[in-house]
């Protein structure tokens, strides 16, 4: 621990040196504050706002999808454009909304929670954020190029993705940029956590949000280069005459799927592990009781991360794998439900014999608990290979991953915002409005996604713009849910923006219960510009 102490001390000194030529006590004025930002809070804020903007862009695309699927027959869009919408919706929500939101939260909260003045690598932090607007401008620009936006699915399976026109190289380059941004963000998290913890904060004293992000960061560093490799091979197949994925030249299109999902499955956990961390912070606070089984939670997170590397082929049971391969991936996948179950049980045990109150962050965390578990159940069902032969590529899968991504990852992000927004801004938000936002979101998200289980079981394939009349009724219900859910999110944007602008002064502890224990609650609301200039002691 003494190493961490020394490094922390050393850094604080260096930090002060670096800044002595300009205003040390506050941000720069005007646009320079944002463009040249090196402050973890400013960068965190930009990440969060960028994510919110992308959430609405991707959401608008989802509205187009659900509007076309409102009834059978093609009413609004061409099938090719529909495919572009599903492809872009996924890319934007994953790489533009969910991942940047978690990186934003990491930027804001990790220095506050480990007692550091800032992130370890502030200039790289600036770079990793400012890549994103360029990456997404390029991705969104594909909507206006000849041939339209990418339409081969976010999974970019060849040979179909090679049929994209001008958008193809733009997509590849955008993915490279997003990957570079994620890797830099992840390195920054690892370096910060490893070197800048307050004296006395041993690894097993770190808040769970820090733990889950540490593990997530390692996952990112491990798999984003794999994605970069996969898309680069696509690029050379298209333009430079290679045949990595073309059978005619001795390649194998299925190899792309193996490489892609070797990235893709850890990616799934990249989008849910920080959510586990957030929920593990919120539930104890509003249950007024310490987290149950802290050590087990840490080990469960690590086990999930490890298992995430050896289950990738469950995304591709129908490609024709050897029997032994299918057996292995089935069993390994089922195994993931054990550590995930431990987490759910521990959260439940945290609430058990607690003293529970229902502020908006807690409401979202409870909703997460129930609905993520439902997504976990359908995940377990999908792991059974024979049953997967029926479920695969149907709306059952769509329902499954939206349950873990929307009331899973997205609700956890909203819970985090409602939990820490008063700390960030120094203002309380309108609780009543936030509670309304919660109930509308929770009701509509179920109206939106639950019927999709039925559609999938009844035999509706995913990624289709038009369907047979027997699927009409549940599709209409689902679309109504979608419009309701989409509109409800405008309340979220309103609450966030109006709270940034002003509101009732928040206390340092923010929540009246005595249990928020992390270091962030020892600082003022909002915290000073350089969080902990003097490292706090952790006992």
């Amino acid at each position: 621990m003494s190493t961490a102490h020394n490094l922390t001390g050393g850094h604080t000194a260096g930090h002060a040196d670096e800044h002595h030529d300009h205003d040390h006590h506050g941000p720069e004025k005007g646009w320079r504050r944002w463009v040249f930002a090196t402050n973890h809070k400013d960068i965190g804020t930009m990440y969060m706002l960028f994510s919110l903007a992308m959430f609405f862009v991707g959401g608008t695309m989802a509205m187009v999808i659900r509007a076309e699927l409102f009834q059978p027959g093609l009413q609004l869009v061409d099938p090719q454009f529909f495919n572009s919408m599903t492809t872009m919706h996924a890319l934007i929500m994953i790489f533009g909304a969910v991942m940047p939101a978690f990186v934003g939260l990491a930027n804001w909260m990790i220095p506050l929670q480990v007692g550091a003045p800032d992130m370890a690598l502030p200039r790289m932090n600036n770079f990793s954020f400012w890549i994103l607007p360029f990456a997404f401008s390029m991705l969104l620009a594909t909507l206006f190029v000849p041939g339209g936006a990418p339409a081969g699915g976010w999974t970019m399976y060849p040979p179909l993705s090679l049929q994209n026109g001008t958008s193809f190289p733009m997509l590849i380059f955008a993915v490279h940029l997003m990957g570079a941004s994620s890797i830099m963000g992840a390195i920054n998290v690892v370096v910060t956590i490893m070197n800048m913890r307050a004296p006395g904060m041993s690894l097993l004293k770190m808040p769970l949000f820090v733990w889950t992000w540490l593990i997530t960061a390692y996952l990112l560093v491990a798999v984003m280069p794999v994605l970069a490799g996969a898309v680069t091979m696509l690029l050379t197949d298209h333009y430079f005459g290679t045949s990595f994925f073309q059978a005619a030249g001795g390649g194998d299109p299925v190899m792309f799927q193996h490489i892609f999902w070797f990235f893709g499955h850890p990616e799934v956990y990249i989008m849910i592990l920080p959510a586990f961390g957030i929920v593990s912070e919120i539930i104890p606070t509003f249950s007024r009781k310490p987290l149950f089984g802290y050590d087990a939670m840490v080990y469960a997170t690590a086990s999930i991360a490890f298992l995430s590397f050896i289950v990738w082929a469950h995304h591709m049971f129908t490609v024709g794998m050897p029997l032994a391969g299918q057996m292995f991936f089935m069993l390994a996948t089922m195994l993931i439900s054990v550590p995930t179950g431990v987490k759910v049980f521990n959260w439940t045990a945290t609430m058990f014999k607690g003293s529970i109150s229902f502020e908006p962050p807690m409401l979202f965390a409870i909703s997460f608990l129930f609905l993520f578990t439902i997504g976990g159940f359908s995940g377990l069902m999908l792991a059974m290979v024979p049953a997967d032969f029926q479920y695969h590529d149907t709306y059952f899968v769509v329902a499954h991953f939206h349950y873990v991504l929307v009331p899973g990852a997205v609700f956890s992000i909203m819970a985090a915002v409602y939990y820490w927004l008063p700390k960030w801004t120094g203002h309380m938000y309108n609780m009543k409005l936030a509670t309304w936002h919660f109930w509308l979101s929770t009701i509509f998200v179920n109206v939106l996604f639950f019927p999709q289980h039925f559609l999938g079981l009844a035999g509706m394939p995913r990624r289709i713009p038009d369907y047979s009349t027997q699927f009409a009724d549940w599709n209409m219900v689902s679309s109504i849910g979608a419009f309701g859910f989409g509109l409800s999110q405008l309340m979220f944007a309103y609450i966030v923006i109006s709270t940034i602008r002003g509101g009732v002064k928040a206390t340092d502890k923010v929540w009246d219960s005595g249990t928020p224990q992390g270091l962030e609650w020892t600082l003022s609301s909002p915290p000073p510009y350089h969080s902990f200039e003097v490292a706090p002691e952790v006992k």
Binding site: G73, Q75, N83, Q246, P290, F345, F370, M381, L457, D473
Partner: protein, 284 residues
Amino acid sequence: MSKILKYVAGGIAASLPASAAFAAWDLNMTVGVTELSRDIHGLHMLIFWICVLIAVAVFGMMIYSLVKFRHSQGAVAAKFDHSTKAEIVWTIIPIAILVGMAIPAAETLIKIEDTRHSDLSIKVTAYQWKWHYDYLDKNVNFFSTLRRDHDKARQLHSGVDPYSVPNYLLEVDHPLVVPVGAKVRILLTSSDVIHAWWVPAFGMKKDAIPGFVNEMWFRADKVGTYRGQCAELCGRDHAFMPVVVRVLAKDEYDSWLKEQQQPAAAPVANANVESAALTVAKAE
């Protein structure tokens, strides 16, 4: 043990509303007309009910805690923060449940992968966006495309009400025809991008991959017409390449096959573009 579980699951499944009258509000997977599809349905119901049981226990505990230990009702929080005994219990029990599920799943999987001793082999080649069926060693092959009137109805702003078209989007010009009770081996490949051949009533889907041949099998034990679709995104008209299979009695199938084999008749070939072009070329 797995047999007992299957019967239990099947029994509960049968009590669920799954009749044709509910078609539009269908809730559950079709039972299907093959042994494999029934096995898969049984597995599906087994795991579904296991999930329901776990959900009742876990959600029950959550709801109990949320109601019982409300701060507003003056609940005072306990201080405990771990219990090794409880954690061991809720690690072991799920593992036991998983083993119980994995055994019947593995049994079915082994059955699914056994493509030996087939009575009939059909090579299915996927195209953007149609299927080509080749009855190996029978000298019968043809394309199967979304039927013309359906194709017209599905165009953007066609003005045709989908409800006025029976089996909207699930009708082809030339369905695949197979005999009832025969083990049909499907050899799948593709000429362009990856597609997937799927008939829910047969319980199986598999990818058609360019440059590779995949195998699957089914044995339909009920005469009838069964419909499915391409299940792997394959481009613009992915939604418009249905699979239709007619299962005929053995003698009817034989006479159908004979009819197809007569070179003069070949009525099924007319609709496909390639042979139409060929006819034109010959006429010239």
